[in-house]
């Protein structure tokens, strides 16, 4: 892990209850059908529908499956609204539910990898860079539109690395927020993220070679 001078925040993520909703019950107790709940749900939860859909689609990689996950996420959120703590990050709360719904729908794909040494991957990424530089490919991200290949490479990443990359790199979450969504310590998010990035860079280097990308020095 990191040294004192480079300390990252390393705290456990929120625990989840049996329904997959972040704990915090009792702070927002409103009876079912209460107009106050509807107003709060409309104000705090509904604006994130597009974001939750995008996240669900990135997890499922299938539009119909994403629809089902989002539907279940919002219905579960509405039923469990009393567990949402007013004033906290509702988007993060919804993402947490969304990911739990997704994982429950694919029990066999639950993450089993628990890497702690993100620095190994950070250093290994340096080796990928060295290889890219040797071949004149060290400016591929600046020179090439790798978006389609990058999207494919992320789709091919296995869980839990894909979720870490999507939450932090695509959805712009902090390690802490991603840790809450994934229900793991921050150090675990970091190691998964670094592994995911390193795998992506290896993949993109291969894609550049396969495409016959002209090295910078050969132009």
């Amino acid at each position: 892990m990191t040294t004192a001078s480079f300390a990252t925040h390393d705290e456990p993520g929120l625990e989840s209850d049996a329904s997959g909703v972040a704990l915090g019950a009792g702070r927002n107790q409103i009876s079912a059908g209460d107009p106050e709940r509807d107003i709060a749900f409309e104000r705090d939860a509904l604006p994130w529908l597009d974001d939750v859909y995008r996240f669900a689609l990135s997890l499922t990689r299938d539009e119909a499956d994403a629809d089902d996950v989002v539907q279940e996420t919002y219905l579960r959120a509405y039923r469990s609204w009393h567990t949402f703590i007013p004033g906290t990050d509702c988007r993060r709360w919804l993402f947490t539910i969304c990911r739990n719904v997704f994982l429950r729908s694919r029990e066999r794909q639950r993450p089993t990898v628990d890497l702690e040494d993100g620095e190994q991957d950070a250093v290994a990424a340096g080796s990928v860079y060295a290889a890219a530089r040797e071949r004149g490919y060290d400016d591929i991200y600046a020179r090439l539109d790798l978006a389609p290949a990058l999207r494919d490479a992320i789709d091919e990443l296995s869980e839990p690395f894909r979720s870490a990359v999507i939450l932090v790199d695509v959805e712009d979450m902090t390690y802490e927020s991603a840790a809450e969504v994934m229900g793991v310590p921050i150090g675990t998010v970091r190691s998964r993220l670094f592994r995911g990035r390193r795998l992506l860079q290896e993949k993109l280097l291969t894609v550049a070679e396969d495409l016959g990308f002209t090295p910078a020095g050969a132009r």
């Binding site: 509904l46 995008r54 620095e119 250093v123 990424a125 340096g126 060295a130 978006a147 932090v168």
Partner: protein, 101 residues
């Protein structure tokens, strides 16, 4: 640092300070390290052409990933289905799901 990592660093001909950049550049670019650590890395990168190139490479990579965030919204069919689901649970704001499309 583990032995394999040390071997890789030596093979790349980097100093120990460059090794700090190698290990923590992502933390730095993600704004996830202490201000002191960030300052130390920033100072080294500013004085080290090798690390400047590496920072540029990693910055461009992260920027490329961030650009994947397209403005992709929930489809109307999903909004209709969700609105019906919320209505079935007695949610008073179910119509809002449709009107937000």
């Amino acid at each position: 640092m583990s032995a394999p990592a040390r071997v890789q660093l030596e093979a790349m001909g980097l100093s120990s300070t460059c090794a700090d950049v190698l290990r923590h550049l992502w933390d730095y670019l993600d704004d996830e390290i202490t201000p002191e650590g960030a300052g130390r890395l920033r100072a080294h990168i500013a004085a080290c052409p090798k690390c400047q190139s590496y920072e540029l490479y990693q910055s461009c990579f992260l920027e490329a990933v961030k650009k994947l965030r397209v403005d992709l919204g929930a489809p109307n069919a999903l909004r209709d289905k969700l609105a019906e689901g919320l209505k079935g649970q007695g949610c008073g704001c179910w119509e809002k799901v449709r009107s937000d499309r």
